[in-house]
């Protein structure tokens, strides 16, 4: 039976198990949208800006552990996806973005709503395609999904000219995808794993430094098992939070620029640093020559190009984090059992000492709401069970510091790109993936305005996302840098001109709540959680609160400013 390109596209989505897509129609994808009316298996969520479609697909992918899908039109529809794609690329999130394109005969003619989106997104996608012939359509789409989710995951864009959507063909759907030039190494080399274990067993001050790879490869259990077996303390990047329980006695807290004192000190003093699914980002390492200077570095990562990119690695292990940790755990069983609790006593006591000296803390107040207090209360009221998304800046760091993530896939944040406007649409995607869960976007008053239009989407679809705005009337993180490094010249960071967020919520048909005093925080949170509708909680917080500790840019991690 002959099928149109549009039919083939939706058939491929069904075959990939896609149930939800986020998108925005336009002239160049009208055929696909038409076909959607005859495809009840796939629910489409109409966003109000294409950037939100991609962030929503990203949030969905993280929460559901599936490939997220966005569908947009050509030209501006396509260019609006770029921030979302770049964010997913930096954070290794599997999504497939379909863009409409002008008919192949018009490509290159500067046609209406034509843009070379494949050219534009080449450096921020894992791979991308322009389908110029309907013969290649089905195969290309399945390849896109395969590439997005395998190896180090990432976004893949498929550009679909209008005439390809309209053409007809007897399609062939590939049963299996194999790409000659793409074979990610998943199984870690056992010899390297053995070498790593030998080194770890000799270590006196080992530290596990884990990242988003733990989450992507679902390695949290293997990680906890390994850390507990050898009593190795664990720190994590922003992307890895939830990969190890945030309430565990071996938990050091996040490391890096706004990491805990004990995490940064432990890494600085470690003799063996075991990096798992992390990539030695500059926000983690601070000044490179002072990062873990005495450590033998073991690095497990599925992406060989992450290894020895920023820091010289002594024992590289290319492979899936879960596979490598599983092998380590298995090898460990064959070792003579030792009392690691006893052997590790000194090192763990040193860490506790650092933590006692400079714990994560803030000055409590009875008069003004401290933003950290709001996050602590959110954690308390939700008993740590909520799905948290964040915007970018202070809100993101306070969420990372004070919401003690105990499970993987509970934090969605634009970690690598740091895209303001990520959190709310991502929360939408999470809520679609987890309809019964509590989903909270911890936001700032700057970031939330970057995708506020999505209130319409959540109201329309009855997605009861909660937004907690830590409202300090500032672009807080930039203001903090200006305070600490630019002698308080608050250039363009004062956001005193802002809408009444309660009225904004109401105008969109959502619920708006506000707290201006500390004692109002908990009642507002409780009320929001009990409301089965989208809610904005506007927390009017201490204006000049800073995120601390802080490693100033270009400084060594032990040179941090403390609270």
């Amino acid at each position: 039976m002959k099928m149109t390109g549009a039919q083939i596209i939706l058939e491929c989505l069904k075959r990939e198990g896609v149930k939800h897509i986020f998108g925005y129609p336009g002239g160049a994808v009208i055929d696909i949208y038409d076909e959607l009316t005859r495809t009840p298996e796939i629910k489409h969520y109409l966003v109000r800006h294409e950037q939100a479609a991609v962030h929503a697909a990203d949030g969905y992918a993280r929460a559901a552990d599936k490939v997220g899908v966005a569908l947009v039109t050509s030209g501006p529809g396509a260019t609006n996806t770029v921030t979302g794609i770049a964010s997913a690329y930096m954070d290794s999130i599997p999504i497939v973005v379909f863009t409409g394109q002008v008919p192949t005969a018009l490509i290159g003619n500067d046609a209406f709503q034509e843009v070379d989106i494949v050219g534009i997104t080449r450096p921020c996608t894992k791979h991308n395609y322009l389908v110029t012939d309907i013969k290649h359509l089905a195969r290309t789409i399945h390849e896109a999904f395969y590439i997005a989710r395998s190896g180090r995951p990432g976004p893949v864009l498929v550009d679909l000219p209008k005439n390809v959507q309209q053409a007809k063909i007897e399609p062939e759907f590939p049963q299996e995808i194999k790409i000659k030039s793409y074979n990610p190494t998943l199984h870690a080399n056992p010899r390297q794993v053995k070498r790593a274990l030998e080194t770890i067993l000799e270590a006196e001050r080992p530290v596990l430094y884990t990242g988003g790879g733990i989450i992507h490869s679902n390695a949290a259990e293997e990680l906890t098992k390994f850390a507990e077996a050898l009593q190795i303390p664990v720190t994590s990047t922003l992307m890895g939070l939830g990969g190890f329980p945030g309430v565990h006695p071996l938990w050091l807290g996040m490391l890096g620029m706004h990491g805990t004192y004990c995490a940064n000190m432990a890494v600085a003093q470690s003799d063996v640093l075991i990096a798992v699914g992390a990539r030695f980002d500059d926000r983690v390492t601070g000044r490179l020559d002072a990062f873990a200077p005495r450590a033998t570095v073991i690095h497990i990562d599925v992406d060989p190009s992450s290894i020895s990119k920023n820091v010289v690695v002594h024992i590289p292990i290319v492979g899936d984090c879960k596979d490598a940790l599983h092998q380590l755990n298995n090898l460990l069983k064959k070792e003579e059992p030792k009392d690691w609790g006893q052997l590790r006593q000194g090192w763990l006591e040193q860490i506790r000492e650092w933590n006692r000296k400079h714990p994560l803390r803030y000055k409590k107040s009875k008069e003004v709401i401290k933003p950290q207090f709001v996050v602590e209360k959110l954690w308390e009221v939700t008993q740590g069970e909520a799905y948290i998304t964040t915007e970018v800046g202070q809100n993101q760091m306070w969420a990372a510091q004070f919401y003690k993530f105990t499970k993987p896939r509970r934090l969605m944040t634009s970690g690598g790109l740091g895209a303001m406007g990520y959190g709310f649409p991502a929360a939408m995607g999470v809520q679609v993936a987890k309809p019964d869960a509590i989903v909270i976007d911890i936001a700032g008053d700057g970031s939330i305005l970057m995708n506020i239009q999505e209130l319409t989407t959540v109201v329309e679809n009855n997605l009861p996302v909660k937004i907690a705005i830590l409202n300090n009337n500032y672009l807080g993180m930039v203001r903090q840098w200006q305070q600490l490094m630019y002698e308080r010249r608050y250039s363009a960071t004062d956001l005193s001109a802002q809408p009444d967020f309660v009225k904004v919520a109401e105008a969109f048909g959502a619920v708006g709540l506000r707290a201006t005093r500390p004692e109002e925080v908990e009642p507002v949170i409780r009320k929001a959680m009990e409301t089965p509708r989208p809610v904005i909680m506007d927390f009017v917080v201490d204006r000049e609160e800073c995120v601390l500790p802080m490693v100033p840019p270009g400084k060594a991690t032990h040179e941090m400013l403390l609270a």
């Binding site: 080449r122 590439i147 030039s181 190009s305 020895s308 990119k309």
Partner: protein, 167 residues
Amino acid sequence: MGNDKNVRRHTISVWVDNQPGVLSRVTGLFSGRGFNIESLCVAETMDPEVSRITLVTTGDEQIVEQIIKQLRKLINTIKVVDLCELDHVEREMALVTVKAEDKSRAEVLRIADIFRCRVVDVSPSTYTLEITGTHEKLGAVLSLLKGHGILDVVRSGSLAIQRAKKD
């Protein structure tokens, strides 16, 4: 981690899918990550679905390692070989039009002869020579011809191939 003393020239062979856009993925990677390309040659292999790129870059060991890893990471890349790790032959070609009048006419031919250049075009006042050889040889010829007046010159990038095993 940059280390100036280990900076050297590397000739890298990259086999890629012969498809539109692939070359731009390769060059985009270099510009986007701040790696440099000194020269680049690309053409189809015996298998028309595969192209072979020969590129020359400079960097310390760590940078070149990163370049190779990033090249391998491209979905369309089939194979990457750093020929500097292997026994290999390398050639470049140049076409050069050189002023050759009166006395210098014989001298230009002499230089061409010494370096085994071929005369591919002649006019009453010029010779156009085809020179092949290593990067260094081309440099030497061109600097000798410079004295006679080079009117036009075009150089290819390096081509390189691994030497066959002799046993």
